[in-house]
Structures are given as structure tokens and as C-alpha cells.
């Protein structure tokens, strides 16, 4: 054998299939991030809202039998969700609105507590995932194996999928099945069988864009604080922009066309509100519309662009 | 020099060195949670150049952290140039440190970074600039110093680190693995620089896990292992210690069965093992000096043919192992 061949020998043994390579990157990264003391505490804290939603499911289902238990659920729908009509129906004839009530409660779970917690969990772990590899040149260790930059990126994104699924999808599924078991009879399944699929759909539209954008930020810098900053700045600026552009403070008590029209239009500037908009459609709380198509296209576009940029960045470091 | 209550061997540092105390440690222990970084170190070094030698994880960086005030001892006390670096930080004016970790400031120039470092020792910006120029010249980095650090090779970054350590002309220069990343020419130049530094009467503490790199600069060593100080002394003294220690020797040649016959009757032999092809003999002797003298005599008297003779455990790791064994009482002095 020529001595030059020594370092470049082709692997002659069996290789695992491509589909099983990115999970290796993911599992090693998960085991590393899981060592963080704060993350483990935060993940436990992020499970707490599950208790609230579980209690609401329990009260609703038991309210079918015991009228006095309907009041808290009705109050939740009237106060938090501002849905007077559904609140009234829960008091009068709760069995007829089971699907709507369950959907609304799961939507609340995804939108409010878990929506904010997801941003924090991703902000805590995501920015370091690629930037630290770039700083320490660890990506060369990964990519000197038969692993493509895309598989590497998917592996890194899967770390965030895992963490987000742990605080959103898994508790939502558990709550759903607990709701079935808490209902007086299993007929509840016939009415709500579609909800697990809706939960998966909501997970997909939340988790994939979030992880793609965060990994993109992380890949653009070797100093993770800039990626962390960019991540939080995206949410803060989006939120503030939406708040300013849709607020009625300028025309308090006036009948301006601006106030009404702008409410819908400016949703697209805020990642939080655009995801909320899509989630409400997936849970069946909103009809598909042209605006929904624009929102879906925008989220898909941002996701694809983020993956493209991150891929280019990783691939370009290999060419240097 | 005070004796170390826990060190196995302490030897006097050559008399030519000043008697003024460079560093003085009294029962210094440092914990990281439940892990011990350094354990009950007690020694006193006069002004001079020293090599701090030990394998990775021996506690060298922890000891350096303690000496520079970056870490405080969990137990015990220490003084550097007569002062406690934690409570009397003014002593740090007289200390320069080149740590083992790499600098990761990709977008700034080495020049700007060193000027900032020198300002922190209480020197004006103008003076810092001229000191930086001089230090960069000393390490051969003048031409590239204005480029961003991110474009430097590992060796260039190492030179920058040394430049910031020597620019304010400290009395004590502490270097943690300074040869890392340097090519052979760079190593030679660095050795020259450090030899000159020590030759000017200034103190150096040079941490390394490679004995021969340190030997080129100083003949005084501190051997550290597992957080404990095993020995202090010159290279000659340490080698002498090694020669006197029970040790294994391998002899090769066609007449090994005859040599084995000679050896088995000696009182100072622990064991003799002949290889299957009967050309290699492994000998464990309690009195190595007797072994070496007898071997040369038998070779002449019996005409034994010996093609190769070498220690089975002559490297630094073995010295550590032997010293640790002695320290634990598994091996007699």
C-alpha cells in the first residue's frame, strides 16, 4: 500500500444507514446540554402548567356529572379566553361542546405558558449548539465522519425538538389521554379522536421553525452570546412592533379605521403572534383564509431560509 | 528551603540563587467541590527559575491559579514575593502569567489586546504602547501584531500570550505549557528567550508535562502528581534518586541464559525473567547500583555479549510511579 493511502483509506466495513446518523449527533448533544443544572430545573418548572390544564380537563369532565364543577371552566373560558358563548354553553350543556372546549384548553396550553417557556428553553440551549462547535472546531470532528452538513444540522435541531417536545407535546398528549380516562364514558374518544393529530401538527409548526431559526443564529457566530441576543431580540422586537402597530392608544375612544384594520395585518411582524395564529387554525378555532396562507408561507419561508443559511455557513467552514 | 512535610524528597536549590523568598506555601489545599486540585502543599522557594513538571491533571494549573490569586486556597496560606496575592493584589505588578488556555478573541489585533493588558498593571496608554512594541519584538511578532488574532496560527497566539506576560517586566514570570503549538524553530526561540530571562536574574516558574523542554531552561524542578508535590530538586538529583531506586532493567543479547544464572544467586535481585527466544532478560533489582557494577564486571569476565541495555521504567512517568509507591509505603527508601 502506498504510504499516502494510510490517512485516506476507504472504510470497508458496514455503515449504518443515513437515517440513523443524525440521531447520534442529537443524542450526544442532548446528553451534554442535559448536564446543565439550570436547564433541568427549568424543564421541571416547565411541566407545572400541565397541572393547571389537567385540572381544567378534570373539572370539565366531572362537570358533566356534577353541575357545580362547571363554574371554574366557564370562568376560565369567559375570563382568560374571552369566549362568552362557549362559557355559557359549558354551563348549560357541556357535553355538546367537548371538542371545542378541549381544543381551546390545549390551545391555551400551547400559546401562553408553553409558548413563553419554549422561547426561554430554546434561548437557553440553542444558541450554543453550533456556535460552540464553531469556536472549538468540534464540527470538524463530526464532519470528518460520513456525515453531511445537513445531517449535522438536523442532529443539532433535534436537540431542540426533543426539549420542546418534552415540555409541549408530551404533556399535551398526557393531558389528552388523562382527559379520556377522566370522562364518564369512552364516547369522548369518538368526539375528540382528531386532537392528538392536531397536537402533533401544532408541535410541528412550532418546533421546526423555532429550532431552524435558533440554529441559524447559532451558526452565524462563534460567540454564543450574539446568537442568544439575536434570539431574544427577535421575540422582543416582534412583540413590541405588534403591540405598537396594533395598539389603540393613539386613537383612544375614536372611530379610526386604522385601529381595526391594522390588528390583523401586523400580526406578520411578530413571530409569537404569527405562530399563535397558525396554532389556532390547527386546533380548529379559526377557518383557513388567505391571510392564513400568507402566514404559513412566511413561516415556511423563514424555516427554509434559516436551514439554507445555516447549511451554507457550515459547508463554507469546511471549504476554508 | 523548608522541608515539605508531605513531599517525598526535597533537595536544596543551588546556592547561587538568592535567599529571598519567591513563593512560600503552607499546607495549601484547594478543593473543587469534592475534587482535590492540590493537596497539602508546603514548600518555600527562593528567587530563581523552576520547572513545574507533572502529567496532565497533576494540579499544575491549580497551583498556578493559587500563585496568581485567581484561586484562593481552601486550606492553608501562601505568599508570592512576600505577599498574599488575594489580599495584597499590588504584588501582581511583579507577576506575569502566560496561561495554558488559548485566546479566542478573533476580531481584535494582538497589539491592541496587549496594550489593554499592560494598562491594567497601572501603566499609561503611551507607555503601554512602547512596552508592547518591545515585548512583541522580543517574541518575534512585530510584523503580524496588527492583524486580527483570529488570523493567527496557534504559535503566533502563543507568542502574543507570552508578550503580554513579559511586557511589564515582571519579577516572576509564570508560564503554563508555553511550548504548546510552537514549531521546532519557535520552541528553540522560546527556550532562548526564557533562558535569557532567567539569566538576567529574574524568576521563572515554567509548568510543563515534558521534562526535557524544562531542562533546557532550568535545572531546578518541582515534581507534582495527583495534586501532591512529590519532589523538588535539580535534574541531576532527580536522576540520582532514580538510579538509587529499585527498578527494572532490560538486557538483550545472545548470552542471556548465562547472565540469568549469574543473577539468580544475588541477594539484591527481586526477579529475573527470560524471554521465550532467550535473548531478552528482564531484571528487577532492589539495589540498581550493585546491578550496574556487577553487569559490567560479568560482561568482561565471562565475555557475555550484550547488545542492548535499557531501563524498563526510565521516563518521568515511572519516576512519578516510583515516588508515589514510596510515598504510599509500597516501596522502601
Amino acid at each position: 500500500m502506498a504510504i499516502l493511502d494510510l490517512g485516506y483509506r476507504e472504510w470497508r466495513g458496514d455503515r449504518t444507514s443515513r437515517a440513523t446518523r443524525w440521531p447520534v449527533v442529537a443524542s450526544s448533544s442532548i446528553s451534554l446540554v442535559w448536564r446543565a443544572f439550570w436547564l433541568r430545573r427549568l424543564m421541571i418548572f416547565a411541566m407545572l402548567p400541565t397541572g393547571i390544564i389537567l385540572l381544567l380537563f378534570f373539572l370539565y369532565e366531572q362537570g358533566l356529572e356534577y353541575r357545580e364543577l362547571r363554574q371554574p371552566v366557564a370562568a376560565f373560558l369567559r375570563g382568560t379566553m374571552q369566549n362568552d358563548q362557549l362559557s355559557r354553553l359549558v354551563i348549560e350543556d357541556p357535553a355538546t361542546v367537548r371538542h371545542e372546549v378541549w381544543s381551546l384548553m390545549l390551545y391555551w396550553f400551547f400559546r401562553y405558558p408553553q409558548g413563553v417557556l419554549s422561547v426561554i428553553v430554546v434561548g437557553m440551549t440553542g444558541p450554543r449548539l453550533v456556535s460552540y462547535d464553531l469556536r472549538s472546531r468540534a464540527y470538524l470532528l463530526y464532519l470528518s465522519r460520513p456525515l453531511t452538513p445537513l445531517e449535522y444540522l438536523i442532529g443539532k435541531m433535534a436537540v431542540l425538538w426533543f426539549l420542546l417536545a418534552l415540555i409541549t407535546t408530551v404533556p399535551a398528549m398526557l393531558v389528552y389521554f388523562a382527559g379520556l380516562l377522566l370522562s364518564p364514558n369512552l364516547n369522548a374518544f369518538l368526539v375528540t379522536w382528531d386532537l392528538p393529530f392536531r397536537i402533533l401538527g401544532v408541535t410541528a409548526v412550532t418546533v421546526i421553525p423555532l429550532s431552524a431559526v435558533c440554529i441559524c443564529y447559532s451558526s452565524l457566530t462563534s460567540e454564543s452570546r450574539f446568537a442568544t441576543f439575536a434570539w431574544f431580540a427577535t421575540w422582543i422586537l416582534g412583540w413590541v412592533s405588534y403591540a405598537i402597530l396594533t395598539s389603540g392608544f393613539l386613537m383612544r375612544g375614536r372611530n379610526s379605521r386604522f385601529e381595526i384594520e391594522s390588528l390583523n395585518r401586523w400580526r406578520l411582524v411578530s413571530p409569537y403572534h404569527i405562530l399563535d395564529f397558525i396554532q389556532s387554525w390547527i386546533f380548529g378555532l379559526r377557518n383557513f383564509s388567505g391571510e392564513m396562507a400568507v402566514a404559513l408561507a412566511l413561516v415556511s419561508g423563514v424555516t427554509i431560509l434559516s436551514i439554507f443559511v445555516a447549511h451554507r455557513r457550515i459547508a463554507s467552514t469546511l471549504r476554508k | 528551603m523548608e522541608s515539605n512535610s508531605n513531599a517525598i524528597e526535597t533537595s536544596p536549590i543551588p546556592q547561587s540563587r538568592s535567599s529571598q523568598s519567591l513563593v512560600s506555601l503552607s499546607h495549601v489545599t484547594r478543593f473543587y467541590g469534592t475534587v482535590i486540585g492540590v493537596n497539602d502543599l508546603t514548600f518555600d522557594l527562593p528567587i530563581g527559575a523552576y520547572g513545574l513538571v507533572g502529567p496532565n491533571g497533576a494540579g499544575k494549573s491549580t497551583l498556578i491559579g493559587l500563585l496568581t490569586g485567581a484561586l484562593s486556597p481552601s486550606i492553608g496560606s501562601l505568599r508570592v514575593l512576600g505577599k498574599n496575592p488575594r489580599t495584597e493584589p499590588s504584588v501582581l505588578h511583579r507577576v506575569g502569567l502566560c496561561p495554558a488556555t488559548d485566546i479566542l478573541l478573533p476580531n481584535v489585533s494582538g497589539y491592541d489586546w496587549i496594550v489593554q493588558q499592560i494598562c491594567m498593571t497601572g501603566i499609561s496608554i503611551r507607555k503601554s504602547r512602547s512596552l508592547t512594541d518591545r515585548a512583541l519584538e522580543a517574541v518575534g511578532m512585530t510584523a503580524d501584531c496588527k492583524r486580527p488574532i483570529g488570523t493567527y496560527s496557534l504559535g503566533m497566539r502563543q507568542r502574543c500570550k507570552i508578550a503580554q506576560a513579559i511586557a511589564h517586566e515582571p519579577d516572576l514570570l509564570i508560564l503554563d505549557e508555553p511550548f504548546n503549538g510552537l514549531d521546532p524553530i519557535g520552541r528553540h526561540e522560546m527556550s532562548d528567550l526564557l533562558r535569557r530571562w532567567a539569566g538576567e536574574g529574574r524568576s521563572v516558574l515554567l509548568a510543563s508535562h515534558v521534562l526535557h523542554e524544562v531542562e533546557g531552561i532550568t535545572d531546578a524542578f518541582l515534581l507534582i502528581f495527583g495534586g501532591r508535590l512529590l519532589a523538588i530538586g535539580t535534574a541531576g538529583e532527580l536522576r540520582g534518586m532514580l538510579a538509587e531506586l529499585p527498578r527494572e532493567v532490560i538486557v538483550e543479547g545472545p548470552d542471556m541464559p548465562q547472565l540469568a544464572e549469574r543473577l539468580v544467586s544475588q541477594a539484591w535481585i527481586d526477579f529475573v525473567k527470560l524471554s521465550e527466544d532467550r535473548t531478552l532478560l528482564r531484571i528487577a533489582a532492589r539495589e540498581p547500583i550493585d546491578l550496574y557494577q556487577s553487569l559490567s564486571r560479568w560482561v568482561i569476565e565471562d565475555g557475555l555479549r550484550v547488545t542492548r541495555l535499557h531501563g524498563a521504567d526510565g521516563d518521568l512517568a515511572s519516576l512519578f510511579r516510583i515516588l508515589v509507591s514510596r510515598h504510599r509505603g509500597q516501596m522502601k527508601w
Binding site: 451534554l32 446540554v33 439550570w38 413563553v116 434561548g123 437557553m124 450554543r128 460552540y132 469556536r135 472549538s136 460567540e223 452570546r225 442568544t228 441576543f229 431580540a233 422582543i236 413590541v240 412592533s241 405598537i244 402597530l245 392608544f249 393613539l250 386613537m251 383612544r252 375614536r254 379610526s256 379605521r257 386604522f258 391594522s262 | 494549573s61 491559579g65 496568581t68 490569586g69 485567581a70 484561586l71 495584597e88 493584589p89 499590588s90 501582581l92 505588578h93 507577576v95 502569567l97 496561561p99 488556555t101 485566546i103 479566542l104 478573541l105 476580531n107 481584535v108 489593554q116 493588558q117 499592560i118 494598562c119 491594567m120 498593571t121 497601572g122 501603566i123 499609561s124 496608554i125 503601554s128
Partner: protein, 285 residues
């Protein structure tokens, strides 16, 4: 004689440390200021400076002629003052300081350069002070630029007055929030930005809408109160009992409170780095 000798030695030592602190802080300030002028960071500065102007510009264009005629001067003053306050002394300064003040220790640890500050006589304090000053300068300049660019898009009678209010608020906000974020950065060096985000979200944003006494201990309360005084906002008409949200009794209370916050928070942060220890080796991600 001996006592005199010891005293003069102490004086020499302290004067030497004071010199180290002065030149060290100056050196760090100069070094960090140069870094802040790198193209990527200048783009960040421009973005922060332009963001409020863009939003207010869009708002300005959206308000049609009918609405302009309908709006009363007090509504306009209230609305635009509040919008400017939210966007500039709150969002721009908080984001700028999250970028510059919060990672004050983390950035050094990531770059493995903290050890170099530690082995200088008062290098740790110089590093914190120098970086804090750059954070205040960088952020307040972005805030002032934002106020200058935005004020033209407001529909208030006295734009100069509004601009001057915002400039003063930006300076006070950066000094106080800067000290707060420095403290967070020294206490939680690993996840400082996440903690700063959570603190701002829970204490400075959520709590500021809660009518509780605790509200008065926030930086936002002091800044809002000063804005209400300087812009002569009549909040009772909007908020009912506005005492929980602003205190318009005396300006000097708020100056004193903000100065005390800044000094205490910065002092505790410096104490943390001086007496504490940070890991000298970076951890695996």
C-alpha cells in the same frame, strides 16, 4: 516611626492600586470601544437606532387625516410619549445593555481572557468598569440617535421637549439598567442573558402593570414617573388611580433612587467579581 512607615507603605500601595484602576479602566474602555466599532456591531447600533423611527414612521403614516382631526392634544401627547418611552428608554436600552452589559463576565470566559484580567492587580474591577462604561456609552448613543430619528414622526405640539425628555430618560435608563445587568452578568455568568430576559419580563414588564407596592422598586417605575413629570402627563384620566404606576410628587426622589440603584447594583457586581471565582477552564457545550 514604624507606624508612619507602615502607613506610608499602605498609602503607596493604595495609590498604586488607584493608578491601576484608572489606567486599567481606561485601557479596557478604549479596547472595548474599538471592538464596538466593528462593522457587525455598528450594524446592530444602526438597527437599534432606526427601529423606533421605523415603527413610529409607520404609525405616523397610518394615522389618516380623519383620525388626526379627531385626536385631542392630550391624547397625542400621552400616546406618543408612551410609545417613545416603550421603544427607546425601555426596548432600545434594554436590548443594547443585554448585548453589552449582561455578558460582562461570560464574554471573557468564552474568549478565555478572564484569567488575564484576574492576574492584574485590580484587573477584575477595571474589566467590569471599563465594559460597563462602554455599554452605557454604546447604548445611550443608540438611544439618543433613536430619539432624534423618531421625534419627527410624532404628532405632539412640542417635539423638542419630547426629545429632551427621551434623551434624559435614555441616559438614566442606561446607567441604571446597565448596573442591573452587570450584576446579573456577574451572578449568573453562564446564562446571564436568559436571566436578564426573564428578570426584565417578570419584574420590569409584568410587575409594572400590577398595582402593588413592589412596583415602586422597579427601575421602570422611576423612569415612568420622571416621564410623567417632564411631559406633564395626566395619567389619572387614563389609569384611574395612577399612584401605583407613577409618582409625580418630586423629581429628586427618583434621581436619588436611580443613583442608589446604580451604585448599589454596580457595587454588588464588583464585589462579586472581586471576592468570587469563576472557572478558569471553559466547559463543554
Amino acid at each position: 516611626m514604624v507606624a508612619n512607615g507602615v502607613a506610608s507603605q499602605s498609602v503607596r500601595q493604595y495609590s498604586s492600586l488607584a493608578k491601576c484602576l484608572f489606567f486599567g479602566t481606561l485601557g479596557v474602555f478604549r479596547f472595548e470601544l474599538r471592538r464596538s466599532l466593528l462593522p457587525t456591531r455598528l450594524i446592530g447600533w444602526l438597527f437599534l437606532a432606526a427601529f423606533p423611527a421605523i415603527l413610529l414612521g409607520i404609525t405616523y403614516l397610518q394615522i389618516d387625516e380623519v383620525a388626526r382631526k379627531d385626536l385631542r392634544p392630550n391624547d397625542l401627547n400621552f400616546g406618543f410619549s408612551l410609545a417613545m418611552f416603550l421603544l427607546i428608554p425601555q426596548v432600545v436600552t434594554v436590548l443594547g445593555l443585554m448585548l453589552w452589559a449582561t455578558p460582562i463576565v461570560n464574554a471573557e470566559l468564552e474568549a478565555q481572557s478572564w484569567i488575564y484580567s484576574v492576574v492584574r492587580p485590580v484587573g477584575k474591577i477595571s474589566t467590569v468598569l471599563g465594559k460597563y462604561l462602554v455599554a452605557v456609552l454604546w447604548t445611550s448613543s443608540a438611544g439618543i440617535a433613536a430619539a432624534t430619528a423618531s421625534v419627527g414622526f410624532t404628532l405632539v405640539d412640542d417635539r423638542v421637549q419630547l426629545w429632551w425628555t427621551m434623551v434624559r430618560l435614555v441616559v438614566l435608563a442606561t446607567i441604571t439598567y446597565g448596573a442591573l445587568y452587570v450584576l446579573i452578568g456577574t451572578l449568573f455568568q453562564k446564562r446571564s442573558m436568559v436571566v436578564a430576559f426573564l428578570y426584565t419580563l417578570i419584574i420590569e414588564v409584568a410587575l409594572s402593570y400590577v398595582p402593588a407596592s413592589l412596583n415602586k422598586f422597579t427601575v421602570g417605575f422611576r423612569l415612568k414617573s420622571l416621564m410623567a413629570i417632564w411631559q406633564d402627563l395626566r395619567l389619572d384620566a387614563v389609569l384611574g388611580d395612577s399612584n401605583f404606576f407613577v409618582d409625580t410628587s418630586a423629581q429628586w426622589h427618583h434621581y436619588l433612587a436611580l443613583a442608589a440603584y446604580a451604585l448599589i447594583l454596580l457595587g454588588v457586581g464588583i464585589g462579586r467579581v472581586w471576592f468570587g471565582e469563576y472557572p478558569l477552564q471553559p466547559e463543554a457545550s
